[in-house]
Amino acid sequence: MTYAKKRGLHGLLFLAPYALSFCVFVLIPIGVALVLSLMQFDLTAPHSIKFNAGKNYADAWKDEYFWQALKATLGYVVLMVPGLIVTSLGVALGLNGMAKGRNTIRAILFLPGMLNVAVTGLLWRWFYDGEFGLFNFVLKRLGMNPAPWLSDKGYAMPSIVMMSLWWTIGGTSIVLLAALQQIPKQIFEAALLDGSTGPALLSKITIPLLRPVLLFVVVTNTIAGFQVFGQPFLLTQGGPERSTRGLVQYIYETAFNNYRLGYGAAMSWMLFAIVAVFALLQYRVLRRSIA
């Protein structure tokens, strides 16, 4: 065996454990979900399980709850992704400018991200509680009216986004901070000597040089945003009036409360297609601006 072949074989051996788990836990379930999506598959009616071609997809297209859930999901993505990018960038810039205590602040910011979504959800449910919650306690102390954080359609989604920001800002900030630290200081020094001011430094140097990382952060967070489930499920259970019931929650209810696995799988594939389209669009647009 030649050296190159031997090396290739070793590489494959190292890859094998991950490849195996990827096949078992990702590829095969994806394939099974695809087959399921083409079937009438209700666990509570095993005798009526059969192939129904694309009927599940057609039904989902006509399902008003599907579109309602998609609208709620889009609402979350539209609020969450720009919100996260702007706040994380602000935090990263602040941290980058700090001479002392940067590591401590970074660790504190990163801490919420280490919590499980269930813990975070319970904590924020208490924060938002209309009568006994922390936020309304503070508002009342300040002589202001309590806010219906989770029980009003206008407040609920922004409240969920606020919790998500608190939960995820640390990770995104650290990624952006790492990218900021890669920008050579000489570029800023030269710009300052040429008379550039803060806003110009940000818009002409920092943002353009951060674009590859911003592309990564925007695309990954958009994908995560479309998959949001834990936060609304724990905080509002999709209410009030289904205004925060996202697509993943609707899929979950269809497949695991109603046991209609076929229909749930079809909607999952539709969600996948939507996410893929959005991610590709973002990638193309941002990629072009980098070039």
Partner: protein, 433 residues
């Protein structure tokens, strides 16, 4: 330490662990291997501890059977049960809520257990009220044994009632029994805070849907008509929902929807009265400084009535002969000893158990049990989850003032009928129309 001493130590540890596992019991065992039974339920609260006590007692009294109880949150319970049971790996005995029985039964893993009711040692079917035993009756077969009943009733803060003059001849707190009394109590128990808003509410809605479903029974409301078609916008349902909406109008008698007060507010003495299930009494038993009283729902509609559900004990299909016999013995034991279970916050399903002095001493349970002749179960339907979701949504829209009762219920009805049609078409291939 040498090899010999290490082995000696290991042997000693194994011996001690073995003794602990066997409860230091050296009693002679029955002939043949012990029958192992797995018993699943969703009793994750204090009720689970009571059930565990019953299981332990059964194991002690029946050394030839070993029941292992596994409890999990109801939210995931049905998923796990469904997947396990369909693959013949499920528990031998399990609990189903009566409203889920129809759907689970269709999945095909619930056994017919007519013989549990047969013979002298059997559970006497005539010891159950007709509407209770009817929940487990499918065609000519029984598919479960109702363990308990959980009617919804009125919980009141006894101190508040007394202070407002709602007392009986003995000076004890007397909860309202009629619509007029209820409205008067809801108004009188309300106390204004220094900011001009109520600090303590007379009444608050707990689970909105349950409150509606409890009330609709008093207005002759129902879910499906005699032809089996959805009929949610019937006059009884509309009247019940209209009454609920009226509490939010004029002089507001319930906290604003965004307030979130409900059961927690009641526990914290910020609400005077709430409607909830008997299962919530366990939560109050833990409070030392709170005086409460349980009573049937006040008659707000045409007559007395309330919503009820039951936990039913079921057996998985295709068990071996010995396992099947052991499962049925265990179910009979739980049914016979359901007064113990009642202490966890339930009403026993069997009349003879409710007639015992032990049960009558449980004040809230026995008060709620008075409603049994007038209670109404949720409908037997395979679209129970979808139905509940639609009712949830309709009630929410009305309470928030975004829809009228008629419009909200008609909208819900349209969807439920669509679910029924889809279900029928998928099952039979026929057009549901």
């Amino acid at each position: 330490m040498g090899i010999k001493s290490s082995l000696g130590l290991l042997f000693a540890i194994a011996l001690v662990l073995g003794l602990v596992r066997s409860d230091f019991s050296f009693k002679s065992k029955a002939h043949g291997p012990r029958v192992e039974l797995s018993f699943w339920n969703g009793f994750t609260g204090p009720d689970g501890i009571v059930m565990l006590g019953l299981v332990r007692r059964f194991n002690e009294e029946n050394p030839d059977i070993q029941v292992t109880m596994q409890r999990m949150d109801w939210a995931t319970y049905y998923n796990k049960l469904m997947v396990a049971a369909l693959d013949d790996r499920g528990p031998e005995v399990f609990v189903l809520q009566s409203s889920w029985l129809t759907r689970m039964n269709r999945a095909g893993f619930v056994a017919r257990i007519n013989d549990v009711y047969a013979g002298e040692k059997g559970v006497p079917a005539n010891d159950f009220d007709p509407q209770v035993i009817q929940q487990v009756h499918v065609g000519d077969a029984y598919i479960g044994v109702p363990l308990d009943i959980w009617p919804f009733g009125l919980y009141s803060n006894a101190d508040e009632l007394k202070a407002a003059g709602f007392v009986d001849a003995q000076g004890n707190a007397r909860p309202p029994a009629t619509k007029e009394e209820f409205l008067k109590a809801a108004s009188t128990l309300q106390h204004m805070g220094p900011d001009g808003h109520p600090d303590v509410w007379g009444y608050a809605l707990t689970n909105w849907r349950f409150n509606f479903q409890a009330l609709l029974t008093q207005f002759d409301g129902y879910y499906f008509n005699k032809q089996g078609r959805a009929d949610l916008a019937n006059p009884g349902n509309v009247a019940a929902l209209t009454f609920m909406a009226s509490l939010n109008e004029g002089k507001r008698l319930i906290p604003p929807p965004e307030n979130g007060l409900g059961w927690v507010g009641f526990r914290q003495k910020k609400v005077g009265m709430v409607i909830d299930g008997i299962f919530m009494v366990g939560d109050l038993l833990r409070l030392d400084d709170f005086h409460y009283v349980g009573a049937p729902l006040p008659v707000i509609g045409k007559h007395a009535g309330t919503l009820a559900e039951s936990h039913t004990l079921c057996v998985r299909k295709a068990l071996g002969e010995r396992q099947s016999a052991a499962a049925k013995k265990f179910i009979r034991f739980l049914s016979d000893n359901s007064v113990e279970w009642a202490k966890a916050g339930q009403v026993p399903a069997r009349r003879s158990v409710r007639d015992t002095e032990e049960f009558k001493k449980l004040p809230v349970q026995s008060a709620f049990a008075k409603q049994i002749p007038n209670m109404q179960y949720m409908p037997k339907t395979t679209v129970i989850f979808e139905l509940n979701q639609e009712i949830d949504f309709a009630v929410e829209k009305v309470i928030r003032g975004r829809s009228t009762p008629v419009a909200a219920l008609e909208e819900a009805n349209k969807h439920v009928q669509a679910f029924l049609d889809r279900d029928k078409t998928e099952r039979t291939g026929e057009d549901a129309q």
